[in-house]
Amino acid sequence: MPKEIKIKVNGQEIATTDDKMVIQAANDAGIYIPYLCYHPGMKPYGACRMCMVQVEMPPPPNAPAGTAPALVMQASCTVPVRDGLVVHTTNEPVQQTRDVIMDLLLSEHPHGCLTCHRIDLCGPQDICLRHVDVNDRCVTCPKNERCELKDTTRFHTQKQYSALTYQYRNLQVETKDPFFDRDYNLCIVCARCVRACDELRGDVVYGMTERAGQVLVGTALGSSLLESGCEFCGACIDVCPVGALVEKENKWERPSRVMQSVCDECPVGCQITYEVNQWEKVVRAIPELNAPANHGQACYKGKFGYSYVNHKQRIKRPMVRRDGELRQVSWEEAFAAAAEGLAKYKGNQFALIASPRNTNEELYVAQKFARVVMGTNSVDLATNDRPGVYEALADVFGVSAGMVSIDDLNAAKAVLVVSANLTEEQNVVGVPIKQAVRAGTQQLVVIDSREVELTRHATLWLRPYPGTDLAVVGGILRAIVDEGLVSKEFIDARVDGYDDFVKSLAPFTPEAVERETGLGPDRLLAAAKLLATNAPAVFAYALDNSVGGTRRPTARALANLALITGNVGKPGAGLMPLRRGANDQGALDMGAEPFLLPGQAPFNNVAALKRISRAWGAPVPDREGLRVAGAFAAARKGDVKAMLVIGDHLTFEDGTFGDTAAAFDKLEFMVALDQFLSPTAQKADVVFPAAAWLEKQGTYTNLERRVQPLRRVFKNKAVDSRADLDILCALAQRMGADGFAYGDSDDVLAELGMVAPAYAGISHRRLLAEAVKTKKPSNDNPLPTQVLYSDAVPMGLQWPCSAADHPGTPVPFGEGKFTLAVLSWRERPKHDDAQFPLMLTHGRVLLQSGHPMEVVPQGKLNSIKREEYVTLHPADAARMKFAEGQRARMVAATGKSVTGTLRLSEQVPPGVVSLTTLFGELAVELEASTHPDPMNHVPRLEAVPARMEPA
């Protein structure tokens, strides 16, 4: 623990802790020390020397009494504080040193406006024609008024004319990569981008090039970002103090206000500060540095995928189908049509499909609408295609929830990732893992038949035959038990059913597991040792490759793994189910699930039913409802006749739920709440223009159970939209239901608290009121500008949070006993299908060494062209008479086919064909895409049957 100490800065005593550098201690105390290369989120670097201070060094012990302490000039970003340290930050020598450094710095940075004598008179929109070259003006810089160099020069004023010669670099701006531009004429070589990419993200896209006066930042050999392995997270842009790295979209847009909300793309729950311009357009997304889940990080989806909210094609008014065509109508007419239509289909002929981007409040109201107004339990999320992932947790722990805080991942000594492409789908979760693995403090075990980015970082990568994750985990469990690596102490205190569990491991012999998975006993033993001897350990899983109903037993086996190694109820330990939608966790908690009532109470639990129907003043249906997949199947059969789909631009095109278009066509009545007239909305009879997540207030619950506030960031003025909450409540009231008159989202949360004790202490108001305050920016203290704008960051609350004064529960399951699940052996599905005898596992990685590739400009952007390699096991190749290096075509059961050069490798299990595509391609595809929302256009990587044929 850091110790409390006191230091003296400019004669003023300040309290701080001994883990800080002088600059941080001083800035925290409100004494601003200018800096350019330092960044509060990164390790000290000591390059810009703007933060020079004088430190008093006590005279040596043998000096004569009365000797004055020596004053030593040091960079305050690299001087650790110690008790009694005396620092001067503003005296003459310090000022002079900074003065010259600034002068030197401006000799290679366009600075006409920075040092202009009439800067104070200059309006932000002025174009000064008299004094300065176009290149040297701040007003032509995309980061005008948002630049840290500007803050620093205003704090530390420079003379207009310098005796030093000014040199503009005259370099071409790099504009050919997706998402952001690089203008190295503006670069001050603080290396923040290099460090962010290396230290924070573990990607090392940038390095320093050349040296001395030529030094700059760049990619290796000047290659494009695509070739350099960039994952386009934007971390470099967010730390750039000048205009060198700037987002392409809305490049020159200036914000007129900023506000935080939570990203809607995945369940990580990144808090992001959105910039809105004077025309009510969201122009930029900047991840919040002090946010608990993301600590200033985001991914390409959150950083660049926000802008669909501004889109011109959003649905502008409610619509009703008349004479076979959707016609714009008034809200009143639309409500009337919807109410009249839905009233005919109460009970299980109706299903409600909600969106994972709905807030908790909306999901609560949606399930209440289905249960109370429509009298059915058929309410589910559109992303709920693999319930086994969360059901297993309820089997073992009573509730389904992630146990691990993202923040604690860094401290975990071992992490197991099972069949999860988390660097793409839950990107920011991968950040602390990559950091810890690179720092050498964490062992990473990856079980995946695909090659994904994390397999590159893994200490141990187990590549089983697709669909055999259960056998792999069973094999590891058995190895742990056989080797005596179990945590006896934990099992004795907290675990039941150990003997039955051990007995059920009998079929998981090393031989059987090897036959099934292709993994030898030494590999399983190595994994067992890494996971059982490094505590705390985290078990993260998405089970993308699990098939044939094995997800639930596999997740249970993983729960066993956590329990027998004692990794439950401790910080940095436990299970981390990885789902896809932003509020998937909230949907479970709200009861937007056919088998769960609010508070995750089972729908057939009599006590819960009674409690909830009393609270609602209405009966709760006790008949089993349908999950989303079942609802579509029933619709195709004609059993479900009406649906309400909260689309939020969901698509159902990946085939998981079968032919959804046919299901919609078969419906007799359909209501859609959507932002775009998507293929789904086009099928509806009544369409309501729904507000985007940035236009509404509410809460999301992320995968660490953290409830975080969404705020009304902006309102698209061209669109007459309403929040889903308001639409559903109005509709319910129109249909004569009571209990849908909520004032605001907090009223919904208050009602939720009554039926779900875990949420009882949570309100939107509280989340905002307890936000951690930081300072407001000002010219005297530009610090907050440099740590991004936030003046208050909500920390969220991790449920259970039972009362208004309960601090939330970062680490659940700290007490109580849990019963180990009994495992049963499941044969993998055999693909002896003559048409598709192989399984295709296609992975996606940033870069592959040994893959010759070429960057080709397509239109305005670069993309990567390369020879595809299709990899087969040598035995399969021999059997099918294929030879290494031959051209061959892989045809998947989905109809997709890829032609490439054949490679033989024993790394691929027999019966599997492996294909790895580049992330870079995807990034270009996304940016060039006409689809406004990237979230749903990341093709999933699942094992599919395939065959090989000669090309």
Binding site: G46, R49, T78, V100, E108, T165, Q167, A212, G213
Partner: protein, 599 residues
């Protein structure tokens, strides 16, 4: 003596006796010899020996330090005087073989010196102006032994020091011995080596590194390279002793990529020591284990800075780290490390072998032992000397170096490499002593002494030094990256006669900022050449930079300025950019020893 050392010593003595039983010809094929044509001489010699059917041992040795006399062929034939032939050409080889080796008649008119002075008209080696007064400790084997022969090294007392330390001294005693000897770091800072070792010895980490720095990129300095070229075993032995004394687990010799012979010879010396059980597990059967390797880095002067060196060893771009933490706590790969100059470590075997008292007896009160000086520039005998501390610079330059060859006045010495200073001729009576020199603003540093005569323009030379400093800045910290660029621009303007009235003040402003603000020594010392030149030759600067009429300076080669956007001119290999610093390899032209044309 350990049991394991005895047989090694015995074998070595046998080899040594065998070498002296028949003709033994040593050709100096170090950097300096090869540049002067030793390669062709060696080839001719081997051909001639086989043509004339002479049974003789030919060894390639490093330089003796008499660079002006290269290629140097050292012929020892039993029964005749051991004779050094200077500036040998391939054409001369046949006669040397025929007359000296075969007929045992040394050729006096080509001889530069003999070992004992028994050849008439030829001075004994010790009486050569450049050799007289030298005390050779680190260079004791230079030119004497085949640098790749472990036996030859051992025969001359090699590994006795290690044997003594391992068999009879505790770690603390070794550290104390080094401390008592008064040895100070030869890398420039002149910090007490024993004290530095004790910091590392006090750290309990199981993995600790001893780093030996042979980055040596200074123009005008070639002593570290020479040690590795002439006698790599001395460095290896010193490094093992340092490892024992400090309880370190690994030694890394860090050499700049491109120093081909030093890399090759050090690598092979380390291999030989592994084979002989002098490195690896259980050294000399004493239970002490230690590993050593050579680590390379691309051409970068800053990589010689200790923290940048650690980055380079880790395979990163060599840019300095900030301190604290200091290397003794967090060094290479985050482990405690100790960085020593090659020269410093090379003294250690003899200090342990002969004792601290012996070493402390050489030199002055505060500067013990010897220093290795590299003489170049306008001087008669350019070369490498090892002299005891305390002799005057005047003696070193005018007597041992032979003074200015053309009879012109010496204007100043450039000392301590491109980050060092200018020592005006008026101060030549200064005693060679670390403290005294640094007080005079002319640090001894890398050991390079470039003699400049009255024709040298101080402004132009300062510009050349700054061009080096600028180009070698790593570009990390702003004061150094931009400060050196601007200083160079100002000096370029001065040389071109385009100075601005504010330039002198500007130089001072920028230079003082570099000193106060830079991250590492490169920037902190980067203003030294200018400030020391200004101190002694302010008038010349003022004249050069005045409107009245700058002194014309011939157009220079090299980079004019290397800021982005500024124009670059041509390639910049060292010899092209810094022609003043290329070692003078002109043949000796003294009247008595005028070589005749090849016969």
């Amino acid at each position: 003596m350990t049991d394991a050392y005895q047989p090694l010593r015995k074998r070595a003595d046998g080899v040594w006796a065998g070498l002296h039983a028949k003709p033994w010809i040593r050709v100096s094929t170090g950097l300096q010899g090869m540049a002067a044509g030793a390669g062709e001489v060696l080839e001719a010699l081997r051909a001639e020996l086989s043509r004339q059917r002479v049974d003789a041992t030919v060894s390639e040795v490093g330089t003796t330090g008499l660079c002006y006399a290269e290629p140097l062929v050292d012929v020892h034939v039993p029964g005749t005087a051991r004779t050094l032939y200077h500036n040998v050409t391939p054409e001369q080889v046949a006669r040397i073989v025929a007359e000296h080796v075969k007929a045992q008649r040394p050729i006096a008119e080509w001889a530069h010196a003999t070992a004992d002075g028994t050849l008439e008209g030829v001075p004994p080696r010790g009486e050569l102006p450049m050799m007289k007064g030298q005390v050779r400790v680190a260079l004791r084997n230079a030119g004497e032994i085949d640098p790749l022969s472990l036996e030859q090294y051992v025969a001359r007392g090699g590994f006795e020091g290690l044997d003594k330390a391992l068999s009879g001294m505790t770690r603390e005693q070794v550290v104390q011995e080094v401390r008592d000897s008064g040895l100070r770091g030869r890398g420039g800072a002149a910090f007490s080596t024993g004290t530095k070792w004790s910091f590392l010895a006090g750290n309990k980490s199981p993995i600790k590194y001893i780093l030996c720095n042979c980055e040596e990129g200074d123009p005008g300095a070639f002593n570290d390279k020479t040690i590795l070229e002439t006698d790599p075993f001395t460095l290896v032995e010193g490094c093992i002793i340092a490892g024992y004394a400090t309880g370190a687990s690994n030694g890394i010799v860090f050499i700049r990529h491109g120093h081909h012979e030093p890399i090759e010879r050090t690598t092979r010396a380390i291999e030989a020591c592994y084979e002989a059980g002098l490195l690896g597990k259980n050294i000399l059967g004493t239970g002490f284990s230690y590993d050593m390797e050579v680590s390379l880095v691309g051409e970068s002067y800053v990589a010689g800075e200790e923290t940048a060196l650690m980055e380079a060893v880790e395979g990163k771009r060599s840019m300095p780290r900030f301190r604290p933490p200091f290397p003794a706590a967090v060094g290479v790969w985050g482990k405690p490390s100790n960085i020593n100059n090659i020269k410093t470590i090379s003294y250690v075997p003899e200090i342990v072998r002969q004792g601290a008292k012996w070493f402390a007896g050489i030199g002055t009160e505060r500067s013990k032992g010897t220093v290795i000086a590299c003489l170049s520039g306008h001087i008669k005998y350019p070369g490498l000397l090892e002299v005891p501390c305390g002799i005057t610079m005047r003696h070193l330059v005018e007597v041992m170096g032979g003074g200015e060859p053309s009879g012109k006045r010496i204007k100043f010495l450039q000392t301590g490499g491109p980050l060092g200073g200018m020592l005006p001729a008026a101060q030549l009576d200064m005693v060679l002593d670390f403290d005294e020199m640094s007080r005079a603003g002319a640090m001894f540093g890398s050991g390079g002494l470039i003699v400049c005569n009255e024709d040298t323009s101080i402004v132009d030379l300062t510009r050349v030094l700054l061009a080096f400093d600028q180009m070698e800045s790593c570009g990390k910290c702003f004061p150094c990256r931009l400060g050196t660029s601007h200083l160079l621009e100002i000096l370029e303007r001065a040389c071109d006669g385009r100075s601005r009235p504010t330039d002198l003040d500007l130089m001072d402003r920028v230079g003082r900022n570099m000193r106060a603000g830079s991250l590492c020594g490169h920037g902190q010392l980067g203003y030294n050449p200018v400030s020391s030149a200004l101190k002694a030759f302010a008038d010349e600067f003022k004249a050069q930079m005045s409107d009245a009429g700058p002194i014309p300076i011939p157009p220079f080669v090299g980079p004019r300025s290397t800021r982005r956007g500024a124009q670059m001119t041509g390639d910049t290999p060292t010899a092209q950019v810094y022609p003043e610093f290329v070692i003078n390899l002109q043949p000796v032209t003294t009247a008595s020893q005028q070589p005749t044309a090849a016969g």
